[in-house]
Amino acid sequence: MIKNSLIVRKIIKYSKLYLILKSIGILLCILSPSFPGTMLVGTCNAESISSADLTELSIRDLMEIEITTGSKKSQKLANTAAAAFVITQDDIRRSGVTSIAEALRMVPGLQVARIDANKWAISSRGFNGRYANKLLVLMDGRSVYTPLFSGVFWDIQDTPLEDIDRIEVIRGPGAALWGANAVNGVINIITKSAHDTKGGLVSAGAGKEERGFGTFRYGDSIDEKASYRFFGKYFDRNESKLASGHNAADDWDIYTLGFRTDWNPTAMDSVMFQGNHYRADESQFFSFQSLTSPYSFPVNEETKTDGVNFLYKWNRLFSDKSDMTLQLYYDRARIHQTVLSETRDTYDFDFQHRFSPWEKHELIWGLGYRITSDNTKSSYMISFYPKSRTDDLLSTFVQDDITIVEDKLRLTLGAKFEYNDYSGFEFQPNIRALWTPNKQNSIWASFSRSVRTPSRAEHDARLNIFVIPPDYPPNISGFPMVLSNIPNDDYKSEILYAYEIGYRKQISESIATDITAFYNEYNDLRSYTIDYASIFLELSPFPPHLVVPAAMTNDINGHTYGIEVSAEWNPVLWWKIKPAYSFLHMNLSGSPDGSDSGTFDTAVPRHQFSLRSSMDLPMDMEFDLWLRSVDDLPVVNIDGYCTMDARLGWKPNKNIELSLVGQNIFDNQHPEFKEEVLNLDRTEVERTFYFKVTWRF
C-alpha cells in the first residue's frame, strides 16, 4: 500500500516529535495570559508535513496553508540545465538581512562585499568591483544594469523585502535568453503578485547601524479578478568606520514608494502594471583632483539619486504548451554628485512567444528593442564626449527545447542576435543538455558563447585619475602632471566561452545537494594601457599641464574555473541546515607590451563558505544562525574573515512578529573591499544589531 515504508516511518517519527514540541508550545500559550485564538499553523513548515499531521489541524488552520510554490519551484529548478539558485521569501525573512544586496551572500558562486555603508561590490564567478560588469540584474523583468559605467548601483535597488516573492540567480552565461552582459550571471528579483499581498503590513525597527527603518504596505482586491497594493519604505543607516576607528562619513537614507496591480480579465490573460519612485541621500568621502594647489583635496559630499519607473506586462496563455508575453517599461534614473551627474531615460519593449510547432519541440522566440538616452554633467575628474547620447539596442532570440527521451533527456539549443551602437552585431549561442535518469538525480552540461558590450564610459569617458604636483617626484617638470584615461572609440566587446556541468541529487527525503563546475575562457578583457611615450602638454583647462595618456583597451585574456556546492538538510522537521561552498580560481594575463593585468578584476576570494541554520522552536519562536567565511583578497590587501549573523524571532500571535537580529557578531569591524575608481577611503563593516516589529492586519 505504501511503497517506501522506511521513509514513511521516519517521517512519522519526526512528526510525532514535532507534535510533542508543538503541544508543549500550545500548553505554554494557553497558560500565558495573552492566549490568542488560532495559532496552530504559524511557523510550521507545511511542505514537509505528512497528511497524518495535517488531520490534527482544524479546518480554519487548513484554510491558511499555502499550497503552491515550494514543490513546484524546486521541481522547476531540478529541471534547469543551468546553475540556478533560488532565494525564497522565507530565506530573506529568516536571514535578518536588510537589503537585497546582503541577501545575495547566500548564493554560492557569487562574490558579495560591502565597500562602505551605501556601496557594494557584487559579482558572479569573479571580476568583482563596484562597477562589476558581467552580471545582469533584473527587477520583475526591468534591467537595472547601468550602461554608463556598466554594473549595478545596489544602493538604489530597493523594495519592501516582505513583498519579494523570490530571487532567482543563474550563475554562468544567460546571454542566449537575456542578452549581452549576462556574461557571468543573471539575477532576477521577482515581487509578489498583488493577489498575494492583500491586507496591511507595517514593519518598523531600529538598531546600532539601522538608525530607523519602516515599511508600510496595503493591498486589496478591486473585484474577483483584480487586486492592487501600494507601499512605502524608508530607512536611515549609520556611517561605517575607518580602520582607525573614526567615522567614515558614509551614512545614507532612502525612501521608496510604489504600487502594483494584477488583473486577470479572463482565465487565459494576466496583466500587471507597476510603478516605483525612490530618492536617496548618501554621503561619501573621496579625494578630488585639481590642476591648482592643493591638487588633491578631500571632499565629503552628499550624493543625491532619484528615479521613477513604470512597467506593464501582459501574458496570454494559449495552452499549457503555448503562451505569449508582452512587456513595456520606462525607467528614469538620476544621480547627482560632484564628480559626475547623470540623467538616464530608458524605454524598453520585449515580446516573447512560446509554442510547440512539432511534437517534442518547444520553441521560444522573442524580440526586444531598447532606447536609452543620457545627459551627463561633468567635472574635471570625469567628463563624457559627447555629453549626451542616445543608443538603440535591437535583439532577437530563438530557443528550441527538444525532448529526446520523454522525462529523461532534453536538449536546448538557443541563440541571441543583437545589434548595439558600440560594437555592432553580436551573436551569442548556447547548447545545453539535461539528463534526469529519475526524480532524484539530474545532470546537465552546457557550452555557451557570450559577450560583454562596451560601456559608455569605456568608449566615451575622459577620466583624470590623479594629479602629480609640479616638481614632485616622479614629475620633474614645472607643470602639474595628470594621469588621464582617454576615450577609446575602438574599444571592443569582451568574449567568453563557457563550459559548465552540474549535478543535482535528492539523497534522501531530507537531504538535497547541488554541485556545479565551470571552466571559462575570456578573450579581449579590459586592460589599462599607460602610454608613457606619448606624454603631451595640454593648455586647456588652465593652467597648462602634462598629460600621461592611458586608455582602456582589450589586451587581457585568461581563464577562470571553479566549483560551487550547495545543500539543504532537514535533520528533523523543525530544523533546516543549508551549507554552501564556492571555489574560484582566476588566471588573467596581459599582452606582452606590458599592459596592466587588471588587478581589481581578481579581487575575489578563492574559497567561500556559508552555513545557515533555521530552527522552529516551541511557542512559535524561530532561531536562525548564519556563519560566513571568506578568503583573503590579496590584490587589494584585505584579509579573509569569518563572521556570523543571528536572529531570534517570535510570533506572539498570527498578526505580529518580533525579531532581534545581530550581524557580524564575531568581530568589532572588518574590511571587505576597496573601491576601484574614485579612490574612496577604505571603510569597515561593523558588528551591529537591530530590533524589528512586523504587524499584519
Binding site: M1, I2, K3, N4, I7, V8, A46, E47, I49, S50, S51, A52, L54, T55, L57, S58, I59, R60, L62, M63, E64, I65, E66, I67, T68, T69, G70, S71, H195, D196, K198, P437, N438, K439, Q440, N441, I443, A445, Y499, I501, Y503, K505, Q506, I507, S508, E509, I515, A517, Y519, E521, H559, Y561, N587
Partner: protein, 186 residues
C-alpha cells in the same frame, strides 16, 4: 597546458558523477506526494466530523468501519490511505478505490475525481439515495449538485457547500462548517 589539465579534470568529474549516480538512484524510488492533495485529504477527514448522517444509518453501523471512497484516478487516494486507521465518530477509517457506482453503497464519503465529470449525474443520483457526502475539486461541482466543492483561491484551499443537495441526501451539516464555507447554495 593548464587548460588541458583542467578540461581533463572536468571530464573526470563528469564521468564520476554519471557513474556514481546510477546505483544510488535505485534506492529512493518513492513518489513525492504533493502538498495540495495532502491538505485536501486533511480537509475531507475534518469535514466528516462536522456532518451528521441519518440516525438509522449511523446506529446500525456503529461497529462498522467508516468508509471514504474515491471514484476515478486521483493522487489524493495515497494521502487518504496514509490516514487509514484513524477514527471518525468512533468508527475506524477505511479508504477504498471504487471502480463503479455500485461499490459506493457502503461509503459515507465519496471523493469524485475531475476525470469523472461526464458520469457526474449518475454518480450524484446514486450518492443521494445512499446518504453519501460527495466531495470534489472539479469546476462547478456544487452548482451541478455536488455537496462540497474545493476551490483554490490565491494558493489557499476554500470550499463551497450545496445545502440543498445535503438536505436531499438527509445529511446535516453543522453550522461551524457552514460558517467557514466560501459560498453556500440553498
Amino acid at each position: 597546458m593548464a587548460h588541458h589539465i583542467i578540461k581533463y579534470i572536468l571530464r573526470i568529474i563528469l564521468l564520476a558523477i554519471v557513474f556514481l549516480s546510477i546505483p544510488i538512484s535505485y534506492i529512493y524510488a518513492s513518489e513525492s506526494l504533493t502538498m495540495e492533495s495532502k491538505v485536501k485529504a486533511a480537509f475531507i477527514y475534518n469535514f466528516a466530523k462536522f456532518v451528521d448522517w441519518p440516525l438509522a444509518v449511523s446506529n446500525d453501523t456503529q461497529s462498522q468501519p467508516f468508509i471514504i471512497g474515491v471514484i476515478g484516478y486521483n493522487p489524493l487516494i495515497e494521502d487518504l490511505m496514509s490516514i487509514e486507521g484513524k477514527t471518525i465518530k468512533g468508527r475506524k477509517l477505511i479508504v477504498r478505490q471504487l471502480s463503479n457506482i455500485r461499490e459506493m453503497n457502503n461509503c459515507q464519503v465519496v471523493y469524485i475525481s475531475a476525470s469523472e465529470k461526464d458520469n457526474l449525474t449518475g454518480i450524484l443520483n446514486a450518492a443521494k439515495s445512499n446518504n453519501i457526502l460527495t466531495v470534489s475539486d472539479m469546476g462547478n461541482f456544487v452548482e451541478n449538485g455536488g455537496i462540497i466543492g474545493f476551490v483554490k483561491v490565491e494558493n489557499k484551499i476554500r470550499f463551497d457547500i450545496n445545502l440543498k443537495t445535503a438536505g436531499e441526501s438527509h445529511l446535516k451539516i453543522r453550522s461551524d462548517l457552514l460558517a467557514l464555507a466560501r459560498r453556500i447554495i440553498n
